[in-house]
Symmetry: C2
Subunit: 397 residues, 2 copies
């Protein structure tokens, strides 16, 4: 079966997370991704825990299905290979500090001149413009500065980091969007373009509600723990064996919830009769709800609330999520095919389900450092030969 | 200037956040988005706070630049308009519960048969397959069930919701990626496809490190507050006037940090000499660092640490982020053009910076409910007329 990006070649200079997350998605959609790594060391994440038989499970998941070649972009021989790859490529991706590609002689202007159809995707901490373009950034630095930490954590408590590396990941997702847009655009213009994603920009872009509140009211919102800031009851609650969510967004759902909890009088209590009143008495209401929910398991309460039509769900830890029947049914927990003799890992599946895209039941393996050098050089020679042959009969695009 | 998606027409049935966030991005890239709303009420978020002159700042930001038409998809006259729109459209988007479109007579099979080039993008809580496809979901339900809450919060404390609605937003971003992929694919196949995004799937897809840890070690990771779980010092610290981040990821950076803090002996102290030792004594090290940082402002420490080459940055609240010079320089805080007589709002800019895409300095306004009905009908008639004229001379695709 043909996949949407089957004919594409991506040369990927990125390392760690933001860029590799983007090329992972493009690879999941069918693109051939050639990961260009530093000789000897390769991507830093090859040394990131957790390890199994000496190999990183982190690297294995993010770099599934990619090819690897080790190239020293300062050495003439390797530069020649790199340039031959660029001549065949649709996309080149990098996450160096701004200016590094120019120093290497591979800045956008030069690349666009030499390879006009090549799309150039860059992701950096602060972007390729503005007063702080040259500063390095880490996931946590942009989570902190972009504002998401200030609205995450216990009410009245200190700021908390989002447990997933959304500083990197959201930037990677915007880079994917930019590259896909450029591919579509190239179909009509015939020309590549440059995409410049800043991790900090991407953090602000996902704040939605908080930006509206801060800009309209003039007051910055703070963290509200597990509860929704302006709907009650809409939070986590304790059952006998763990946390679960109750999301009763209006008066009718609140009445159903009171029935489900065997607390029918609560729905008529003036302290709880409107959402505004419930928000005012949120702590008291939580105690009353938990006086019931602590007496039985969360499975009991979820089944009961669902029967009464109240939106609910478990708070799962990651091990539980990896066994969630709905996620398993959607192929969202996949084995990563081991390399011969290598360890087996598990990774998240591709959440982009579409007709015309093969639905994987296993991910292809991640590459050992430089493992595909011979294959890549062989393929490159064949592609160049074919192109010479074609150019005898066909005008070049 | 032409924008990448300038020629595209998107018919958008989605409401609240996940779908509208996706069509917002496509609109920012140039697509014409026609928002089809329920007569009388429209998108629920028109009633979401914060308000200014009776209008929602939340709705204004997410629906910038879209057109609005109110259609009752059960009324014959409005269905006829809807079908004429579909005949012109490149993409239709919806976030109903699975099966609703089929009940309306607009399921994928029917649409694909009638409009073979039409791309169909769906986003729902649990996806269009699996045992729980029909259950409703909210952002918080999928944040809870997907695992991100279990790794967010204070160490040893209860799970905490991510302050941004990443349950919706990440799903919307995957929908955008699917639609862009389908547009590219259609250039060669001539056919549309169906994209089926589940909010729950999308949550698992962004957990990266946590999935690797849980699956390799068998133990689910827990929350670690503001600190990195396996690098020290890599956390927030208190200055005299607020929190800032220190991200000293290796021994050399730790030595520089000790110098910057005037605590040079710390770098040789056996309790802190390796990252492993620092992780073991993380609480003590935090007290020692803060014994210095509490004595001056975060501006002082950030300037000093930057001079010593230690990655650092402010923890900003959302109001501070909206005044961040780097974000302002990148056009990431933009006025939303008011409708005549309407209130002015502010929204986050488009983080996808690319050559070939106009860089906005203001967003276009969001629509009043049904405001574009007359214009849309006029345009529709003209488009149909032009098509009939074309079909006299040109074979239909």
């Amino acid at each position: 079966m043909a996949n949407p990006l089957d004919t594409l070649l991506i040369i990927d200079l990125t390392h760690v997370l933001a860029g590799p997350f983007a090329s992972m998605t493009l690879g999941d959609l069918g693109a051939r991704v050639i990961k260009v790594e530093r000789p000897g060391i390769g991507d830093d994440t090859r040394a990131f825990p957790p390890f199994k038989e000496g190999e990183s499970g982190y690297f294995a998941a993010i770099n599934r299905g990619k090819n690897s070649i080790a190239l020293d972009l300062k050495a003439p021989g390797d530069r020649a290979i790199f340039e031959r790859l660029l001549a065949q490529a649709d996309v080149v991706m990098e996450n160096y500090r701004p200016g590094v590609m120019e120093t290497l002689g591979y800045g956008w202007d030069e690349l666009h001149e030499r390879y006009p159809r090549l799309i150039y995707g860059a992701v950096s901490g602060f972007g390729h413009s503005g007063p702080e373009a040259l500063k390095p950034a880490y996931d946590m630095v942009v989570q902190a500065r972009g504002g998401v930490m200030s609205i995450t954590g216990e009410e009245g408590g200190p700021p908390v980091r989002v447990g997933a590396s959304i500083g990197d990941i959201v930037a990677g997702m915007y880079l994917t969007q930019g590259i896909l847009t450029a591919l579509y655009q190239r179909e009509s213009t015939g020309l590549g373009c440059k995409i410049d994603i800043a991790m900090l920009d991407a953090q602000l872009a996902i704040l939605e509600h908080a930006v509206a509140i801060a800009s309209v009211t003039g007051a910055a919102p703070g963290p509200t723990g597990a509860r929704h800031p302006s709907i009650t009851p809409f939070s986590t609650y304790r059952a006998a064996d763990g946390f679960f969510v109750i999301a009763a967004g209006n008066d009718a759902l609140f009445a159903k919830l009171c029935d489900a909890l065997d607390l029918p009088d609560l729905a008529k209590d003036l302290r709880f009769v409107t959402n505004a009143a419930r928000c005012e008495n949120v702590a008291l209401l939580k105690r009353l709800i938990e006086s019931q929910t602590l007496n039985a398991s969360r499975a009991h309460w979820i089944a009961r609330l669902e029967r009464f039509g109240v939106p609910t769900g478990k708070v799962q830890n990651v091990s539980e999520a990896l066994e969630d029947p709905q996620l398993l049914a959607r192929n969202m927990v996949l084995p990563i095919t081991p390399r011969p003799g290598g360890p087996a890992f598990v990774g998240a599946g591709n959440p982009i389900k579409m007709t015309g895209l093969e639905e994987r039941v296993a991910h292809p393996s991640s590459p050992a450092l430089d493992q595909d050098r011979a294959t890549i050089l062989e393929w490159l020679a064949a592609a160049e030969k074919q192109q010479t042959a074609k150019s005898d009969t066909l005008p070049k695009k």
